[in-house]
Symmetry: C2
Subunit: 347 residues, 2 copies
């Protein structure tokens, strides 16, 4: 049994900021990184939460991530742009890129900003949800290190390549899809590896292409894409948009977050759609409410409650804002050894 | 065993145009519809080929599709627009909408055109591939009649909601993804029903939610989405974009092409991305060639050749341009009975 301790979100966030500042990150950037980590923990995506902090710090210390890099906007089109992250935090680039995409959408109807030479940016839905405040639809893609074998091959080359789409509602909670193109996100397998848990057999293949319940073997093998050829095709398209359209890197070149041999060379795409350039925004949001309620009133499988994409995460975030975020003792130990090394207070 | 006869593409196309004109379609529109049907047959997507002609004609005769409807462009944003198809052919609206999206992309970097009050438009890749001629990336979505049960429910409400993405290459064939969010397109099940073939057990569920190999039972039940909750989420997002953002219809309201009780109320989304507003187009296309060759050189599963999305379809189209398109005798009979009724030459 794994023991957990509950922490207030702000406690974890301040801890993360303190650690990042000690690692040489300027305050503004540290706040953005910490915010995405705690957002992930609040929403129950612990694989992308504060558990990642030691790896981020390690990348800085190894000199393969520039924590205070200047981002540079390269503008050629009107409603589109490229942002060069200059090997800085994905969170810093992502925040700026999504804001820029939303600005474009406000003027032109849509905005699309590609980011190159970036790093891991946390959870994709952090950025897609930014669009909700402006009554826009947010769409965010990122590619990642080789994990999925292109259909018909046995060698992982494509990332899990997550996609997030956020759609505003009126009285109901927004619809927020956040998914990778594999049966499960690699983060979940990495988390299982860190917590020594087994994984279901339909998640991954070992190096020889056989199903495995061992997360260590799975991390050396490949992940099963959704719908076989379809998920592999979707992952390829995300890779092309995030890697080739941005001039960032070619398929298979993104380094894993734990690979300290050089910059991760990660690319992302951020899009915003200004709903009111299509239809009346009040009508749109009422229609989304209607659809949410229509789906929730359908006969459910095995009498379980029916949830829309993102609903469980919103509910969990509400609960954890009140009751705190549970952190495994093994993770706390790792974080506190980081704190000790930087001579800051333990969690 | 099913007997087939091979026809020259132009023969089939002229036949389709003749039939459509007799059904009251003006030449220009008839040509567009026929072109998408033959394009599907050339690419091996026979479920969306000339086999659909009798159903199109039936919709016109039933008065639930206006074959010569005027399409009206409603413009609010700069790089975006809505096209009201006024219950005309999806092909006519789709052709115009994709062209408009490409025009916007040429000016602003991206273009996005939503279509409302439309009908079945054939294969999505017909339109996404239009972008290739202008060195753009084409992205096309459409929703469709209820086929997939939202995750956690037992009632089909979401369409199979296809997505197509076309990416230009240099010397290699373009990458063209064209996929539905179900394990298979409903058209394949409909085709199996028409040709009295059994279907694999992992394609669909019957009305009670049990796997079935009977295409008739499958058409009354629901289709299995790719990756379970993920495919269901993707289908929902496509539905929202095509139905709600366009002001077209709410989830679950699209009528099946065979339902003659009223207009199908179908919506689509057409997007174009002007690559050269991001990176040098020659470099981009060379990079796509590089990726294609990289994937094709990976160790293959069971020593089978490795194909990129769309490659099999391009190869088949080349072959069928030379050798003709095979049409099942049962389909020929149906088409010829239509020809007899309209007093035009048999196939």
């Amino acid at each position: 049994m794994v023991n957990t301790v509950f922490y207030e979100p702000d406690t974890l966030k301040e801890f993360a900021i303190d650690v990042l500042i000690k690692a040489g990150v300027k305050l503004d950037n540290a706040e953005k990184v910490a915010d995405t980590l705690i957002c992930a923990d609040l929403r129950g995506v612990s694989s992308h939460g504060i558990i990642r902090l030691p790896t981020y710090v390690q990348r800085i210390e190894a000199g393969v991530l520039n924590p205070n890099a200047e981002t540079v906007l390269e503008k050629k089109g009107k409603s589109v742009a490229l942002l060069n992250a200059n090997n800085g935090f994905g969170q810093v680039a992502g925040y700026k890129a999504m804001h820029t995409a939303m600005e474009f959408a406000g003027v032109y109807g849509t905005g699309m900003v590609g980011v190159k030479d970036s790093n891991h940016f946390g959870i994709a839905s952090y950025y897609s949800m930014m669009a909700l405040e402006k009554d826009m639809i947010g769409i965010v893609l990122t590619h990642s290190s080789p994990a999925i074998a292109p259909y018909g091959t046995t060698r992982p080359l494509l990332g899990t390549n997550p996609l997030s789409v956020a759609v505003p509602a009126c009285k109901e909670k927004p619809i927020v899809l956040d998914m990778s193109m594999s049966m499960v996100a690699r983060g979940k397998i990495r988390y299982a590896a860190m917590t020594n848990s087994k994984i279901p057999l339909n998640w991954a293949l070992d190096e020889e292409g056989n199903p495995t319940d061992n997360p260590q073997k799975a991390l050396k093998g490949s992940l099963v894409p959704i719908g076989g050829v379809k998920g592999s095709g979707l992952a390829l398209v995300v890779d092309i948009l995030c890697g080739v359209l941005t001039g960032n890197s070619l398929t298979g070149e993104v380094k894993n977050i734990t690979d300290m041999s050089g910059p991760s060379k990660t690319g992302h795409i951020f899009c915003a759609i200004n709903i009111s350039d299509f239809v009346d925004i009040i009508e749109f949001k009422n229609n989304i409410d209607f659809i949410i309620n229509k789906i929730k009133s359908l006969p459910s499988a095995e009498n379980n409650p029916v949830y829309l994409p993102g609903e469980i995460e919103y509910n969990l975030a509400d609960k954890r804002m009140k009751e705190g975020i549970p952190i495994d003792e093994s993770v706390i130990e790792t974080l506190n050894s980081l704190a000790n090394r930087y001579r800051i207070s333990n969690l």
